[in-house]
Symmetry: C2
Subunit: 361 residues, 2 copies
Amino acid sequence: MTTSNANRSHVDRQASIPVADLQRFISGVLAAVGMPAEDAATVGGIMAQADARGADAHGVFRLPAYVKRIRAGGINLHPDMRIVEERAATALLDGDNAMGHLVMKRAADLAIEKARHSGIGWVGTRHSNHAGPAGLYARMPLAHGMIGIYMAVGSANHMPPWGGIDMLLSTNPIAIAVPAASRPPIVLDMATTTAAYGKVKALAQRGESMPEGWMVGRDGKPLRDPKRSDEGFLLPIGGPKGYGLALMFGVLAGTLNGAAFGRDVVDFNKDFKSVTNTGQAVAAIDVSAFMPLARFEDCIDDIWAQMKSSAPLPGAQEIRLPGEQSAMTYDERIAHGVPLHPELIATLDELARSVGAAPLP
Amino acid sequence: MTTSNANRSHVDRQASIPVADLQRFISGVLAAVGMPAEDAATVGGIMAQADARGADAHGVFRLPAYVKRIRAGGINLHPDMRIVEERAATALLDGDNAMGHLVMKRAADLAIEKARHSGIGWVGTRHSNHAGPAGLYARMPLAHGMIGIYMAVGSANHMPPWGGIDMLLSTNPIAIAVPAASRPPIVLDMATTTAAYGKVKALAQRGESMPEGWMVGRDGKPLRDPKRSDEGFLLPIGGPKGYGLALMFGVLAGTLNGAAFGRDVVDFNKDFKSVTNTGQAVAAIDVSAFMPLARFEDCIDDIWAQMKSSAPLPGAQEIRLPGEQSAMTYDERIAHGVPLHPELIATLDELARSVGAAPLP
C-alpha cells in the first residue's frame, strides 16, 4: 500500500484527510522513529486536534521538524517525567526533555486535579519542548467545568526588548478558555507580537508582502518583505505593552520554573539537538469554587449575545468572539477532514517513506 | 489654619507635598465625610502610594470624585465584607459596596495567606469599587516573596468589541509584579487599550491632539481631537488581540465573581449613586513553591541586565523594564514630595473646606 500511494501523483491524492486518519498517520510516524506506542498515540491525537481546530502551523505541518529533532537525539523518547516541587495548588513538572505535548498533557491533568480540590491548580514545566497551539492546553480544563489558562516561552527569539535590537524575547503566547452553555467556549489564543513568526514564513512562501506593523529592521524602519525577515524582528502588540506581556509571560512560564528565557532560549528551527529546556505554565480554575457552573455558562452565553448585538463599525467585518473561527473550522474539519496542501502531502509522503511508516491514506 | 491656607494664592502654595502629608490629608477628608478612621487611614495610605509611584490619575486626583460618590450614597462606609465562597487556594469576597481600596487590600491579604499554604492564592471580588492603580495590588505579594497578578473590570466602558461600535468593554487592566534581588521589582501595569482614558482627558485639558491609534470615531475614522472623545472610542492594543484580552480579563475579574461586565457596567464618571458591583481578581504565587526565592530574585536581576544590555534601536529611547520609571518616580517623590498642579491644589483646598477637613499643608 505504501508503494501504491507513493506512486500516485499529487493530483490523485485526497486533499482532505479525516482527523482520525491524520492522527493514525502522525502516531505511526512517531512510533516508527522509536516513540513508545502509547505516547505516539497521545501526541498524534493532540497534533491532529491542532489541525482540526485550524492551527495549521502547529499540527502535522510540524511533524517533519519533530522527526528531525527526534533523529538528532534532541528529544528524549523514554523520559522520566517528575514532579520536582509540589504544594496543594501548585506543582513544578520536569519533563526530562520529552515531547512537549506529553509534558503539557500531564501538566494540564495535574492542574485540573489540583483545581478540583483547591479551587485552582497552577503547574509549571521545565525541560519540556514545543507543544503546539496554546489553545489546546487552555481547553483541557473545559471538560471539567473549569477555566484554563496557558502561557509559554516561545521556541525561538524573534523580538528585542522595546527600544533595542537584540533578540531576547519570543512571541510568548497566552491562551485563556472559558466554557459556555449553548455556544462554543470562548478561547483566546494569541502571540504577544502583532503577527506570529509562522505567518511571516507563510507570506514568504506565497511571495506576498507583510502589512506595516508586523516587523521592523535593525534600522528601525518598517520591513515589508517577508523573505528578508532575518534582517529584522517582530513587533509587540501595543509597543511597550506587548513587550511587557512577552516579558512577564516568559518569567511566569520560564524563569519561575527554571526553564530557558532570554539568551538561553534555543532556536528550535536551527538547532535540532540541544536540550531546549522549554518552559510552560498551565492553570485550571474550578468555576464551581466561585459560582454554580450552569449559571456561569449562561453568563458566557450572554456575553456572546451582547458582543454579537453591537452595531457594526462601518467597513468592518463581522464581530467575532475569540475561538469562534476555530469552532467553525473544527465542525467543518470533523465532518469533511483536514485540507492539506499538495506540497505538504508530498513532504509527508516522503517523511513516511524515509521512516518506514504507513503513508496518508 | 484652614482659613490662612485658603486665603493664600496658588503661587504661595507648596508645589510638592510630602507623601505622609498627602496621606494625612486624604484620610482627613475621608474621615470628615464619615469614613471610620481606620478605613480612612488605609485608603489614604494606598491613594498616597499611588501618587508616590507616579500613577497621578489614580491618587489624590480621584479624591473629589470619591467624596462626591460617598456623599451621594454610592459607597457603603460601614460595609460587612464577607467571603462568600472559599476553597484552599481560592475565595470570592463580596465587598458590600465598600471603597475598592479596602476590598482589594483584604483580597490581596487573603490571596497571600492562601499562597503561603497552597503555593497560589486567587481571590475574586464583587460589589467592590474603583481601587486605583492595578500595580499597587500586584505589588502587595512582593514583600512576602511572592509574585502578584491583578485584573479588573474598568469602571466605565470606552471600547466596543472588535468590529463594532457599542461600548461594551472597558480598558480592563492587568498588572503582574515579580521580585528582584538588587534591582526594583519588575511591575507591568497596563490597560488593554492603546491609551488609558485618563490620558485622553489629560490631553484635552492641555489642548493637545491625540496620536493616531488611540481612538476612532463611530465612522471608523481616526479621532485626534481629545475634546471630541465622546464621539468615538478607545482602540485595543493589537486590534482583535487587545479586544480578546479585555474580554477575558473582564470574564476572570467580573463574570466569574458575579460582578458587572458588559452592559451592566456603571459609568462611575457619570453615575455617582448606583452600586457599581465592580469586580477584580488578585493572585499571589509563592516563589518558594517553585524554587528558592533568592535564586529566583537573582534570575530577575539577570533579566534586568540582559534587557539593558541590548544594542539600541536607532532613534529609540533607553530600554526600560516595566516598573522602572515608577521606581525612579517613587524614590524622587519619597525624597522630595509629590508635585501637584496648582489647579488640583485649588480643587483640593475647596474640597477640604467643603467637608470641614484640614487642608494640604
